[in-house]
């Protein structure tokens, strides 16, 4: 029992990281622009740099969280593990609600001016401010060298930290207290989970799909994701309560 709950919760963390949309949305538009400007070979080189940036950011966040929590726990030896778990559980449950309400932006009047038949039925615009989204699109368009793509990939995950940081903290707490799972395996699975959608999108582009097909698929997936991801967050909060009770 003490092994099952942490494993389930870590699987949920990886699933949530896989289903979050910001990196994949930016990747799809960036790859579309790259195909518009460069050869397939150069576009792929840029795409690999972007994916490497995303991977490195994930690893960086794991290590940062790990060392910060390690420093906190060594300075505050009386901090009870169960208290941290209860607080995290509350935060993650609140994130489920925030995700449901705000992750996907509601269509505004301004957007409805355009003909609805060519607009995605469900706008996939995300929670980030519109000016920031426009900046991301502009940067995706302006990429010329692999280092630009790498930097875009590295920093694109920053706005999504609102939804991912509690997951990193929780998973790190589990990692610091578990002996049954190697920490490197958890980090590798998390990185693979984060980049899996990017490889799928890249594969879709290579097998003849274009940005329109990918965007239509994202718009179709949106209603399901609006329920699946908050459900994952809620389920995770419940498992954390279970783990907190076990530790308590």
């Amino acid at each position: 029992m003490s092994i099952v709950l942490p494993v389930i919760s870590l699987v949920l963390v990886v699933v949530i990281q896989t289903l979050l949309q910001l990196t994949s949305a930016t990747f799809s538009i960036f790859y579309h622009f790259a195909l518009g400007k460069y050869s397939i070979k150069k576009s792929d080189r840029l795409a690999l740099s972007y994916i490497f940036g995303v991977e490195l950011f994930t690893v960086f966040m794991w290590l940062l969280t790990y060392f910060i929590l390690y420093a906190i726990s060594s300075n505050l030896p009386n901090l009870r593990q169960s208290v941290a778990m209860w607080i995290l559980s509350g935060i993650i449950a609140a994130l489920a609600l925030i995700f449901f309400c705000f992750y996907y932006r509601r269509p505004t009047l301004n957007r409805d001016i355009l003909p609805t038949k060519v607009r995605a039925n469900n706008s996939t615009a995300l929670f980030i401010p519109r000016r920031f989204a426009a900046n991301l699109t502009r940067h995706a368009l302006a990429i010329k060298q692999p280092k630009d793509a790498f930097l875009l990939g590295f920093f694109v995950g920053v706005p999504e930290l609102l939804f991912t940081l509690p997951l990193y903290i929780f998973a790190t707490l589990i990692m610091q207290n578990s002996t049954f799972l190697p920490n490197t395996l958890i980090i590798i699975l998390s990185v693979l989970g984060t980049v899996l959608p990017l490889f799928i999108i890249n594969f879709a582009f290579h097998s003849g799909s274009n940005l329109a097909d990918i965007q239509r698929a994202r718009a179709k997936m949106k209603p399901a994701l609006t329920f699946i991801l908050p459900a994952c967050y809620l389920f995770l909060a419940t498992t954390i309560i279970g783990i907190g009770l076990l530790y308590g």
Partner: protein
Amino acid sequence: MDKTFQNLEKTLRLHARGLRIPAGSAEVFIAETLKSVEASLHGKSIITEQDLKRLVIKELKKYHKDFAYVYANCDIII
């Protein structure tokens, strides 16, 4: 206005190449679209960005559905 059309043409070319529309067809689609849009806007004193976008989408839809779709949805992907 000329600069707006030049930028529009550049953006449309980029999208067309990204969608892998054959170069010849893309040139025809873009030229026809811009010609129709220019004719529609003729004599109008005030034109908003949304008006321009709506007209471009309407014209592009006649030639290539995916092209129109990408141009219409480009700002709501992220």
